[in-house]
């Protein structure tokens, strides 16, 4: 399958990119890694009058340590973040999640922000951002705004990004000494998760749990550290899950019920 024709634009600066978005609006799509977008273009299931390629904007290809948060620019690839020497120490949950994101080859080009922008309901990076309470930095000709993960991710493949806005960075809070755990169930290694579960335990008593693949967007909640199973089971019923080719809603609920207590236990064990 070959894509439909589009204008190709490759700005060198954020200002140029933002000006182009103001001009084209909804008719344009931002191209960073392309690992999610280009298959859809090739399959002709999305429209794009123009592609704005931000992958060579050097200002966006930076990882910044702000102490309490780590800021990841929109051109930073998933493998670049995975290879960041401080990742395990500062963002252990992201370090646990990244190996599940696609494959080595797709992580060479796929970007961290691109995955957040794509907002697939079961994908790993939106889940970790939601669980850690991270933020998304958006820029347009009208100015800059910062949204929380919760405000940003609205539904399946749907975000609060306005048509003229560019995601310039995401910010992950640093979890000092917290215990983390991440597990997902997928049909094949590297596939989209059917259900993904992440947990962070600041101490042995308080655990925050996040799940992807049960609803249109990740869901986050505190659960009791001991006997989390009952709270999880009730939460599963609330979330319902959904049906697709690979799993029924009932199976999704059961996967969540089975997995989440294990993930909670693991996070608590890792807590300082």
């Amino acid at each position: 399958m070959k894509p439909r024709p589009f204008d190709y634009l490759r700005p060198d600066t954020v200002e140029e990119a933002v000006a182009l978005l103001a001009e084209y609006g909804e008719e344009a799509r931002v191209l960073a890694g392309g690992q999610s977008l280009v298959p859809m273009l090739n399959l002709r299931i999305v429209e794009a009058e123009a592609l704005i390629d931000i992958s060579r904007i050097t200002a966006l290809d930076v990882i910044r340590d702000h102490g309490q948060t780590i800021e990841i620019g929109a051109a930073v690839t998933q493998n670049k973040l995975m290879a960041w020497p401080q990742l395990q120490q500062k963002l252990p949950l992201v370090a646990a999640a990244l190996p599940h994101v696609g494959h080595f080859q797709t992580r060479n080009k796929g970007t961290v922000c691109g995955s957040i922008a794509h907002a697939d309901p079961s994908s790993e990076l939106p889940l970790t951002l939601a669980l850690l309470g991270g933020e998304i930095v958006l820029k347009s000709k009208r100015g800059e705004r910062v949204l929380t993960a919760k405000e940003f991710h609205k539904d399946m493949l749907t975000t609060a990004r306005a048509g003229d806005e560019l995601i310039v960075a995401v910010r992950f809070p640093v979890a000092n000494g917290a215990g983390v755990a991440f597990r997902e169930v997928a049909r094949r290694h590297g596939d989209f998760a059917i259900v993904a579960v992440a947990a962070i335990a600041e101490n042995k008593n308080a655990v925050r749990l996040g799940v992807g693949g049960m609803a249109g967007k990740p869901a986050v909640r505190k659960v009791p550290a001991s006997d989390s199973a009952a709270a999880i089971a009730a939460w599963a019923d609330e979330l319902e899950g959904y049906e697709d080719l690979h799993a029924s809603a009932a199976m999704r609920r059961d996967l969540f019920r089975n997995l989440a207590p294990l993930v909670v236990g693991e996070a608590i064990r890792c807590a300082a």
């Binding site: 399958m1 070959k2 894509p3 439909r4 024709p5 589009f6 204008d7 190709y8 634009l9 490759r10 700005p11 060198d12 140029e16 392309g34 690992q35 280009v38 298959p39 090739n42 399959l43 009058e49 592609l51 390629d53 992958s55 190996p99 696609g102 494959h103 080595f104 080859q105 797709t106 060479n108 080009k109 094949r188 290694h189 590297g190």
Partner: protein
């Protein structure tokens, strides 16, 4: 800033396997089509055009990339390496290629070039990769013929030898 209208042709100049080449493309021309049909290097194969099978994997500035998910114009000015760059000028196979031969790691050969390029990148970063690491990277490729065992054995041989 680089801007090309949909109806325009763009002259894409890049370095392919060490040689500076250029040819015309549309903005939407896929890099795999450009390499194969505009530049004539048919060693890179196309299996799915949606980034799953890995047959189209090439190196762009040394980084393993799906060429079916890259537009030719995105590669301009870059160093692109394909499977044709691996053997010596006299045809002698590289240690990785030889390991594939020694371990019967190919049958029809269609998926092979992409796997060779993936591991040319990966082994340069992690020369003594473990079997688990090799399997992890190899799972970004689909092979229908071999059942994968020979491919794993070949890459392990190359990793031990340090290719």
């Amino acid at each position: 800033m680089r801007g090309v209208k949909a109806s325009e042709r763009v002259r894409v100049a890049l370095t392919l396997n060490g040689r500076k080449l250029a040819a015309e493309a549309e903005p939407r021309t896929l890099l795999c089509d450009f390499i194969r049909h505009a530049l004539g290097a048919t060693g890179t194969h196309v299996g799915c055009e949606h980034g799953v099978c890995g047959a189209c994997t090439v190196l762009i500035d040394g980084v393993a990339t799906r060429s079916c998910l890259t537009f030719a114009v995105q590669a301009e000015g870059r160093e692109v390496k394909t499977v044709e760059s691996l053997a010596a000028p006299d045809g002698a196979l590289s240690p990785l290629q030889q390991a594939f031969r020694d371990n019967h790691a190919l049958q029809c050969g269609f998926c092979t070039p992409g796997i060779l390029m993936s591991f040319t990148d990966y082994l340069s970063r992690n020369p003594h990769a473990s079997e688990a690491e090799i399997r992890d990277v190899l799972s970004g490729h689909l092979c229908r013929c071999t059942g994968y065992a020979g491919i794993v054995a070949a890459i392990k041989q190359a990793a031990r030898g340090g290719s």
